[in-house]
């Protein structure tokens, strides 16, 4: 007998569990590009982002999640980036944002 679907499911916890997350990949990225740690979360990158105009893509949030060890789905999200480089021009901390995109994708792979 097929189980009737009532439309309910169990939500996955949204909590970032820093004890379970493995920061090895994140530390690898930061070692290669320490300037990423200088991000002050101003959001200029996201505000100027061409991809962000048309989709939910949020570069600031993505690299912050990576730094917390939350890698799932990041590769796919970062694939929305068209590498136009506007974010790099506006970043007040002079972070090489295009390199951040490429480095994260290269390090994480299709997670």
């Amino acid at each position: 007998m097929a189980v009737k679907n009532f439309g309910f499911s169990i939500s996955r916890p949204r909590t970032i569990d820093m004890d379970k997350n493995n920061l090895r990949k994140s530390n690898e990225i930061l070692r290669e590009l320490p300037e990423l740690q200088a991000c002050i979360g101003c959001g200029s990158c996201t505000a100027s982002c061409s991809a962000g105009l048309l989709t939910q893509f949020n570069f600031r949030k993505m690299h912050t999640l990576v730094r917390r060890g939350e890698y799932e789905g990041v590769y796919k999200e970062l694939s929305k980036c068209m590498l136009c480089g506007k974010c790099r021009m506006v970043c007040p901390r002079n972070i090489n944002t295009r390199k951040v995109v490429l480095l994260i994708k290269r390090t994480l792979g299709d997670f």
Binding site: R14, T15, I16, D17, M18, D19, L30, P34, E35, Q37, A38, I40, G41, R60, K61, T64, L65, R67, R68, E70
Partner: protein, 337 residues
């Protein structure tokens, strides 16, 4: 006993010492009254000063040398029970008649036990920024069991910007102190991980932003924007902390070996007593109001009473010392008529 002098300086911290020195060097008579048995005030409890990592004992020594060379009469272990612009009465019954008063009575530290949710005084490894300075002084950072902490969380704004504990104001120096302390931990324990939980980073002074960048890039200190909501003790004295990582808009939990609370500056209760006795105006924070924030910052609403240092608001050591010079000049100008 009745004494007579030109100016009474109340408080023997950095501002009081500097003000007394300046007055004497200008040729006026001055009595420095200090409640403690030693001079130096809160600075005695700090190890190194931001942003240059200058040893605080160097600063105290320099000031005390200057004091030795001036002709200041110091009354240690003397609590002031009454003050006006012409009279200062001590707990011992001594009365000092004067022509002007400089208040350099400073601040109190916020009592971290009031923020019960962080468990200071309850859990083993929850300490304050002041306790951490003491550890730096001894040269070892360790948990209660004696081990070096591998993961340390530093929480900004404990007792600052918090209306729940009647502390609406920003204590100003804690952000940069937290950055300084994070770097000091990393210098002593390079393999440790340090996480600073902040609401805003207020890097207001010269070299502060640079130090923040150094902490991020060179020392790999993690900065997470969000206030820790609570701490709970885990087995072996570890702590679980909860916060929101507001930049990813997700709740965050983490266990650490040590939680450092950056305690803020609180206006002492005696400010209200002074205000009642003299007519001095207080700010809503409880700190004493300056007559004018721009042109007469060291004057008060009462002629003859001057202020220097953190009696009016949280300030750095450097700011307090500079203000002491200004206050002594203003007092001299006042008594010379």
């Amino acid at each position: 006993m009745i004494m007579q002098t030109d100016v009474v300086v109340v408080g023997g911290g950095v501002a009081g010492i500097k003000a007394a020195c300046e007055l004497c060097q200008a040729g006026s008579k001055c009595v420095l009254v200090e409640r403690d048995s030693v001079l130096g005030g809160k600075l005695r409890g700090w190890h190194k000063l931001f942003p240059s990592f200058t040893s605080s004992s160097d600063v105290i020594e320099e000031l005390l040398n200057e004091l030795k060379q001036s002709n200041v009469e110091c009354l240690l272990g003397s609590e002031v029970v009454y003050i006006s612009s012409t009279l200062c009465r001590l707990a011992s019954g001594t009365e000092i008649q004067c022509r002007a008063v400089i208040l350099a009575t400073g601040y109190n530290l916020f009592d971290a036990r009031i923020k019960e949710e962080y468990g200071y005084g309850i859990y083993d490894n929850v300490i304050t920024s002041v306790d951490l300075e003491r550890m730096f002084h001894t040269g070892t950072i360790s948990t209660l069991s004696g081990a070096a902490p591998e993961k340390v969380a530093i929480l900004h704004c404990v007792g600052s910007r918090d209306e729940k504990v009647c502390q609406r104001h920003c204590s100003k120096v804690c952000c940069i102190t937290a950055v300084k302390q994070a770097i000091e931990i990393k210098k002593m324990l390079p393999n440790s991980e340090v996480f600073n939980f902040y609401m805003d980073m207020r890097m207001f002074g010269p070299g502060y932003e640079e130090l923040y960048l150094t902490a991020q890039k060179q020392y790999n200190v993690h900065f997470i924007r969000g206030r820790i909501s609570e701490a709970a003790q885990l087995p072996k004295g570890r702590l679980q902390i909860k916060a929101e990582d507001t930049l990813t808009a997700r709740p965050l939990i983490m266990s650490v070996d040590m939680l450092v609370l950056m305690v803020g500056m609180k206006a002492p209760k005696q400010n209200a007593l002074f205000a009642l006795a003299t007519g001095l105006e207080l700010q809503p924070s409880g700190f004493i109001s300056s007559k004018d924030l721009f042109l007469e910052a060291v004057l008060t609403s009462v002629p003859g009473i001057f202020v220097a240092g953190t009696v009016t608001a949280p300030k750095t050591i450097g700011e307090s010392i500079s203000e002491a010079t200004m206050a002594s000049r203003a007092a001299l100008k006042f008594i010379e008529g």
